[in-house]
Symmetry: C2
Subunit: 204 residues, 2 copies
Amino acid sequence: MTERLSSEQLAARRDAAGALGSALRDLVDAAVRTEVPLAELQDVTASVQQLAARLRVDMRGLQEPAPLDDPGTGDRWFSPVYGPGNPLAPRLAATDTPDGRATGRVTLGKPYEGPPGVVHGGVVATLFDHMLARAVRAAGRGGMTAELTVTYRRPVRLGVPLLLTAKMNDADGRRTTARARIVAEDDPGTTLAEAEGLFVSLRP
Amino acid sequence: MTERLSSEQLAARRDAAGALGSALRDLVDAAVRTEVPLAELQDVTASVQQLAARLRVDMRGLQEPAPLDDPGTGDRWFSPVYGPGNPLAPRLAATDTPDGRATGRVTLGKPYEGPPGVVHGGVVATLFDHMLARAVRAAGRGGMTAELTVTYRRPVRLGVPLLLTAKMNDADGRRTTARARIVAEDDPGTTLAEAEGLFVSLRP
């Protein structure tokens, strides 16, 4: 797809990519939980292979950016943390304000399980990395993650609505720090895990 | 599936779950890179929804363990980091030794992208969390991650074979620390990122 998309085409394509992401999210969830008979599992696998072949007919290369991304807002349609079009991303709904605060809501299912019934620590770290970066970017600061520290206090449970809050902390030259925490929405006083991030930009 | 599986049935089912995981990994990769026409995208989406409905006919609940897991080795068939049956997990091949060392090899594709062409920092943290825990467990120590610190030194690139090494550090009562690093296989002298983890077990 080398020609430029009109804004209507872009909107339609974003919708379609989001719908495919959503359908695949459901399929991934079903795949890690299914107990259907072996023959059915094998039959579904063959169909999945056929669908992959259909999508592979025209694919972007590993270094090519997605035409659906919005360079203005920095929103990435295929982000592995919040991208509607990426089946790996949970349904994270995040917002931010120019004072360097970000809020995210998410409920995590079986594909994100670490210890039994509990969200994998790496998934918690991934959510934090994104929320911290988002708070920093919302304040007009930039940079890549240079250091991320996560402190796990209590199990973060599957199937429970979670609330993440992040806030920019210190800004000094090219360096910006931010802090974040995660709680269950129905128990906002109990911190389940918290994080601190250091972001360093190439220019001040 | 309430009846116990024979060892042959278990092996066949593990194979089938791994094959579905593998096929879905390919489909996820194709979904985040495809540029096929809109109508084709929508048609594939409808097929994905039908496949999910077929797998949902019989599903484990959110708290139910997978019958395919091996309680002896602790291997989890649907782990989001290395589980063959979990499409979210990259193809991570990890080994460990009883002296508390673990080694992992992985190449990450487009679904794991953060900055353009670069692996998302959260994905790097997730790989570290697993490798650190694996080193600790290999030494006969246990526990949940209490703290994880990741230092990002250089971009970790998509499409490049990566090598992760982890080593148990201090063991003191219920507390165990471990360190890990990640390099490109063809440039083992350059640390791309490193991590330290603290694990705390319920009993000594």
